[in-house]
C-alpha cells in the first residue's frame, strides 16, 4: 500500500436511510466538498456484498481512509472491520433518522443533519492516520512480585505455571507472611467443617523448587521506573546490596498490618489475657495441638471469648471504618482450636452481624455451632481484668440486658490495615529528575506523580469499578490481596491468581503496543510537538494514570505502555501539541469546522455535542433505538473521554458560528463513573473557566453547558440537547455566522 492518502466514502441506504434521506445529495457533498476520492452508495452496506465492495476498493483502488456513513459506530462493528486502514463512522441511522420524526416539515433539517455527518466522517478520516506502536517495549515478560505472603506466593506459582518467570521481593527473612503465622486456615473445600493445614510450607517448597521463580528475602524495591514491558527495578537487601532487574509487569502484594487497638479503652487490650486474633495464632502454634495456655500465668484456657468487629465498622476515633471480611470465619476457626482439642472448653463469639457468606461460610458457621461454639449477638461495653483472666461486660442484644462474663482469655478481631506505601495524594512529589528512596514506599516509583500506586479508600489501593476489579491507575502494576481490599485467604488466592493473569496480559500487550483496559488493544498513543511545548506541565499533572514523566529538559516524556489512550493530556494542552495518530485536536477540529453553518436569519442554529463514547454516546444511540427525538440542530461527536476535550474545540465552534455547545461526560467526584478516573472531572474544571472566553467573545455563558450523563440517560441526554435548543431560541442566534 502506498503512503498516499486515498479516501473512500461509503453511504448506506438500508434500514430506511434510503427512503428518508437523499443519499445521492450526500454523496455529492462527500465528493465535492469533502473531496473523498471514491464515493459509493449501497442498499445494504453491511451485507457481505457491501463489505466486499469496500474491501475491493482497499485491495484494488488503494483506498486507505474509509468513511462509512451508515449506522452508529456501535453497530455492525464486525462487518465494518478492515485491517490496516483508517476508519470513521458517520452515524445517520441512530444519530439521524431514528431521532427525527418522519414528517415533511422535518425532512429538510433531517437531510441537513445527514449531510453534515457525511462531511464530518470524511473530514475526520482524512485527518486520521493508522496507528502503529512505537516499539518502546523491550520484550520483558518477567513479573516482579512485591511481597512474599500468601498473595505474592500464589501469584508467583500461578504465573510460573503459565510459563512466566517471576521474582518475589520479600522484606522479611522468610516467605509466608501472615498466613505462615497461622496455626490452621479456614477450610477451602467441602464439607467446610474443620480448620485445614495452611499449606504454606508446601507453597514455599514449590517456590524453592521452581526454576521460574527467584526469591529475594530481606529485600525491598528501592526504585521502579519504566512502563509495562520495560520496567526496571532496584532490589536492595538490608545489607545494602542493590541489583537492577527488568520486568514486564508488577504485582504488589504488600499485604496488611494488624490494626492497633491499644488506644481503644473499652477493648482492654492492655490486659495480658486480652489478645488479638494474630496473637492467638501464635499461642495455638506454641500449643501445637495441645491445650492453649493464657499469657498471664500459663494456665490452660478453659473459657475464651471472641470479640468481633473490635475497633472496626465504626466512625469513632481510632476505629476502622470498614469490616475486614475474614474475622467472623477466623474467630470460628480459632474457637475450633479450643473445641477440637477439648470440647469442654467454653467458647463464645460475641458478634454484631455474623458474616459467613457463600456455601463454605455458612457450612463453617454451622460446623462451629455443631462443635458447641456459642454465638451471642452483643456489643462490648468494657473489657477489663478480673484478676484471674478477663471479664467482658456487654449488652446482649437478643436478651436485651447487660451481662458480664469471665474468661481466661479474650480474643479481639481487630482487622486489617493495608500496607499501601506512600499516599501520593498527601505527600509532595519529588522534583522531576531527582528521586529519593523512601522506606515507607512499597515501589519507589520514579513516576512524576508519586512513588506508589494511588489509594482509593481507607488506604486500600482497590479498583473503583465493580465490573473491573483489576482496573489500575498505574498500568502494568496490579495490587493483589489485602492491600487491595480486606479479604480472607481464599479470596486472596483468587485475587492473586487474577492479578497474575492481568500482569501477564499487560506484559504481553505492551510488547505489541496495545493499550490496557478500557481501550484494550488500542495501538494509538500520544505524541507531542516538542518545538511547540511550553513545558507548562499540565499534561504530566493531569494524566489520570501517571503515564507522563518529565525528561531532564523538563519536556513531557510519554510512556506508551503506561498510557491508557484517554486523551486527557490532549485536552489539557493549552498549546495543542499533543495528539494521537487517529485521534487529535485536528480529527475533531476538522469535523467541527466543516459542517454547514446556515445564515443567522435561517433560524437554524447549530449545537455542538461532545459526548463521551463510553456512556453519553451509547445513551444517545439507545435514545434513537427507543424513538426518543432530539433537535435536528445538534451535531454529535463522540470523544474518548470528556477529559480529552480541548478548549479550542469549544472556542473554535463558537467562533465559527455554532450557537451552543453541550458537553457530556461521566459522573465525576467521589463516586466517579469516568472510566479514565479524572477525565470528566478535568473537563468540568476546564469548562468552568470557559466563561472568560465567552465574555471575550461577548457571548452568553448559557451557550456552553457541561453535564454528567449516565449510559441510562436515554431520555435525559436528548433532553439536555433540546434544552440547549430552547436556550438558543430564548437568547438568540450567535452573531458569529459568516
Amino acid at each position: 500500500m502506498s503512503d498516499e492518502k486515498k479516501t473512500g466514502c461509503y453511504i448506506c441506504k438500508g434500514c430506511g436511510i434510503g427512503e428518508r434521506l437523499n443519499t445521492s445529495q450526500m454523496a455529492t457533498i462527500a465528493e465535492r466538498e469533502a473531496r473523498a476520492n471514491i464515493v459509493r452508495e449501497h442498499d445494504f452496506l453491511c451485507s457481505a456484498e457491501g463489505v466486499a465492495m469496500i474491501q475491493n476498493d482497499i485491495d484494488n483502488e488503494g483506498v486507505n481512509h474509509i468513511a462509512i456513513v451508515a449506522c452508529s459506530r456501535r453497530a455492525k462493528t464486525e462487518a465494518f472491520n478492515f485491517d490496516g486502514v483508517a476508519i470513521s463512522r458517520g452515524n445517520i441511522r441512530e444519530g439521524v433518522i431514528w431521532v427525527r420524526p418522519d414528517t415533511d416539515e422535518a425532512q429538510e433539517t433531517t437531510q441537513e443533519m445527514a449531510e453534515d455527518y457525511t462531511r464530518m466522517a470524511v473530514f475526520e478520516v482524512n485527518a486520521m492516520n493508522v496507528p502503529k506502536p512505537s516499539g518502546e517495549a523491550e520484550g520483558q515478560t518477567n513479573i516482579l512480585i512485591v511481597g512474599g505472603g500468601l498473595s505474592g506466593m500464589t501469584a508467583a506459582i500461578e504465573a510460573s505455571k503459565a510459563g512466566y518467570k517471576c521474582t518475589i521481593v520479600e522484606k522479611s527473612g522468610a516467605l509466608g507472611g501472615h498466613a505462615a503465622q497461622a496455626w490452621k486456615r479456614i477450610p477451602q473445600h467441602a464439607p467446610y467443617k474443620d480448620p485445614e493445614d495452611t499449606g504454606i510450607d508446601e507453597m514455599i517448597a514449590a517456590i524453592e523448587a521452581d526454576p521460574n521463580i527467584e526469591v529475594c528475602l530481606n529485600s525491598r524495591v528501592t526504585r521502579t521506573s519504566g512502563a509495562p514491558g520495560r520496567f526496571s527495578a532496584d532490589i536492595s537487601t538490608e545489607s545494602g546490596d542493590t541489583k537492577t532487574e527488568n520486568f514486564g509487569a508488577i504485582i504488589q502484594a504488600s499485604g496488611y498490618t494488624d490494626h492497633d487497638v491499644s488506644h481503644i479503652d473499652k477493648l482492654g487490650y492492655g490486659n495480658a489475657d486480652v489478645i488479638t486474633q494474630a496473637e492467638l495464632e501464635a499461642l495455638a502454634r506454641e500449643a501445637n495441638g495441645g491445650p492453649i495456655k493464657r499469657p498471664s500465668d500459663g494456665k490452660e484456657v478453659a473459657n475464651v471469648v471472641f470479640i468481633q468487629c473490635a475497633g472496626q465498622r465504626s466512625d469513632e476515633e481510632g476505629h476502622l471504618p470498614y469490616c475486614s471480611g475474614h474475622c467472623c470465619l477466623t474467630s470460628i476457626k480459632q474457637a475450633m482450636y479450643f473445641k477440637d482439642q477439648n470440647p469442654d472448653i467454653d467458647t463464645t463469639i460475641l458478634y454484631d452481624d455474623l458474616r459467613t457468606p457463600g456455601a463454605g461460610g455458612e457450612d463453617f458457621y454451622r460446623s462451629g455451632q455443631d462443635k458447641q461454639v456459642i454465638f451471642t449477638k452483643g456489643a462490648v461495653n468494657q473489657i477489663s481484668s478480673s484478676g484471674n483472666g478477663a471479664k467482658v461486660n456487654f449488652k446482649d442484644r437478643i436478651l436485651d440486658e447487660d451481662v458480664e462474663i469471665e474468661a481466661d482469655l479474650v480474643v479481639l478481631a481487630t482487622g486489617m490495615v493495608p500496607n499501601s506505601g506512600v499516599n501520593i495524594d498527601e505527600v509532595p512529589q519529588d522534583e522531576p529528575g531527582q528521586f529519593e528512596v523512601s522506606v515507607d514506599s512499597i515501589l519507589n516509583l520514579t513516576y512524576r506523580q508519586g512513588k506508589d500506586v494511588p489509594q482509593l479508600k481507607y488506604g486500600f489501593s482497590d479498583s473503583h469499578f465493580i465490573c473491573f476489579p483489576y482496573e489500575t491507575r498505574r498500568t502494568g502494576i496490579y495490587t493483589a490481596g489485602p492491600v487491595r481490599r480486606p479479604m480472607d485467604d481464599q479470596q486472596a488466592i483468587e485475587d492473586a491468581t487474577g492479578a497474575a493473569l492481568k500482569a501477564i496480559q499487560a506484559a504481553e500487550n505492551a510488547q505489541l503496543g496495545r493499550a490496557a483496559h478500557p481501550r484494550s488493544g488500542d495501538l494509538s498513543y500520544p505524541s507531542f510537538r516538542r518545538e511547540g511545548c511550553t513545558q507548562c506541565k499540565r499534561c504530566t499533572v493531569e494524566c489520570p494514570f501517571g503515564a507522563i514523566d518529565e525528561d531532564e529538559e523538563r519536556y513531557p516524556k510519554f510512556n506508551e505502555g503506561r498510557c491508557r489512550r484517554c486523551g486527557t493530556c490532549m485536552g489539557a494542552c493549552p498549546v495543542r501539541v499533543i495528539s494521537f495518530e487517529n485521534y487529535s485536536v485536528d480529527t475533531i477540529g476538522q469535523q467541527i469546522k466543516n459542517i454547514d453553518i446556515p445564515d443567522e436569519f435561517d433560524e437554524k442554529p447549530r449545537i455542538l455535542v461532545l459526548a463521551c463514547e463510553n456512556d453519553a454516546y451509547p445513551a444517545l444511540d439507545m435514545a434513537g433505538m427507543a424513538g426518543v427525538e432530539y433537535s435536528a440542530f445538534a451535531r454529535v461527536i463522540p470523544v474518548r473521554c470528556l477529559g480529552s476535550t480541548n478548549l479550542i474545540w469549544v472556542t473554535d465552534a463558537l467562533n465559527s458560528g455554532y450557537d451552543g455547545c453541550v458537553l457530556m461526560g461521566c459522573q465525576k467526584g467521589e463516586n466517579y463513573q469516568c472510566h479514565f478516573v479524572k477525565g470528566s472531572e478535568m473537563a468540568h474544571y476546564r469548562m468552568s473557566k470557559v466563561d472568560d472566553t465567552l465574555q471575550s467573545l461577548s457571548l452568553e455563558p448559557e451557550r456552553v453547558a457541561t453535564y454528567e450523563v449516565a449510559i441510562t440517560d436515554i431520555e435525559r441526554a436528548p433532553q439536555l440537547i433540546n434544552d440547549m435548543a430552547e436556550t438558543i431560541e430564548r437568547i438568540g442566534m450567535s452573531p458569529f455566522k459568516f
Binding site: D346, R366, Q369, Q372, K377, D396, I398, V403
Partner: protein, 208 residues
C-alpha cells in the same frame, strides 16, 4: 429443690447448654439455633409465651437455668409443628420444648400451677388407669381443676356440648362408675412400670 436438681447443678456447674444436651430430648440441637426468630413468629400461641423458643435457646446458652426450667413457656406448646416446618436450621423445636418441659418436671422445677402441665397430668392419670381416656371424668377434672366455683361455671357454660355428646352417645353418665377400658389393662400397666423403671434408673445415675 429435688436431689436430682442439686446433682445436675453440681455436675454441669455453669454449663446449662451441656446439661440440656445430655438430658433433654433433642437437646443437642439447641446450639444450632441462629436466632432468626422464625419459630417465635410462627407459633400460633406465641403471644402467650413468656419466652418464645428462640429466646429460650438463647437463654439456655446464656446459662439462665432457673429461669428456663421454671418457665411456663414450653408448656404452652400445642405440638402444631409450625416451628419445625419453618426452622431454617432444622431444629426439632416442638420436641425440644416437650423435652424441656419433661426435664423441668423431673427436676421438680416446673411451675406447679401451670394449667397445661396440670391438665397433662390429669390426662396421663386418666389414660393410664384403663388404657382409654374417660372423657367424662377428664372433662370434669378439667372444669374443676381451678376450684369448685370455677368448675361449676365452666360446666354450665359447656352444658350444651355435653348434652349433645350424650345425645349422640359420645358420652355416658355410666362412665362415672368404672368406665370402658382396653382388654389387657394389666399388660399396659406392666409396660408402663417397666418404662418408669428405666427412667428412674437413668435419673439415679445422675443422683448417685
Amino acid at each position: 429443690m429435688s436431689n436430682m436438681n442439686t446433682a445436675m447443678i453440681e455436675k454441669y456447674r455453669n454449663n446449662f447448654l451441656k446439661e440440656v444436651e445430655a438430658n433433654v430430648e433433642e437437646g443437642e440441637w439447641v446450639k444450632m439455633c441462629m436466632q432468626c426468630g422464625v419459630c417465635s413468629g410462627s407459633c400460633p400461641l406465641g403471644p402467650y409465651w413468656d419466652h418464645p423458643p428462640q429466646e429460650i435457646f438463647m437463654m439456655i446458652r446464656a446459662g439462665k437455668r432457673e429461669e428456663v426450667l421454671s418457665s411456663s413457656s414450653m408448656w404452652m406448646c400445642t405440638s402444631c409443628y409450625n416451628c419445625i416446618a419453618r426452622c431454617p436450621r432444622g431444629l426439632p423445636i416442638t420436641h425440644i420444648m416437650h423435652g424441656l418441659a419433661h426435664y423441668a418436671d423431673r427436676l421438680g422445677l416446673a411451675p406447679k400451677e401451670q394449667p397445661t402441665r396440670k391438665f397433662a397430668k390429669h390426662f396421663w392419670d386418666n389414660l393410664t388407669k384403663k388404657g382409654r381416656v374417660n372423657e367424662l371424668k377428664l372433662g370434669l377434672k378439667l372444669y374443676f381443676m381451678n376450684g369448685f366455683g370455677e368448675g361449676i361455671k365452666t360446666a354450665m357454660k359447656m352444658k350444651d356440648v355435653g348434652l349433645g355428646m350424650w345425645k349422640s352417645k359420645r358420652l355416658s353418665i355410666g362412665e362415672l362408675w368404672g368406665g370402658h377400658s382396653i382388654k389387657d389393662t394389666k399388660g399396659l400397666h406392666a409396660i408402663l412400670n417397666k418404662a418408669r423403671e428405666i427412667e428412674e434408673a437413668k435419673a439415679k445415675k445422675f443422683e448417685g
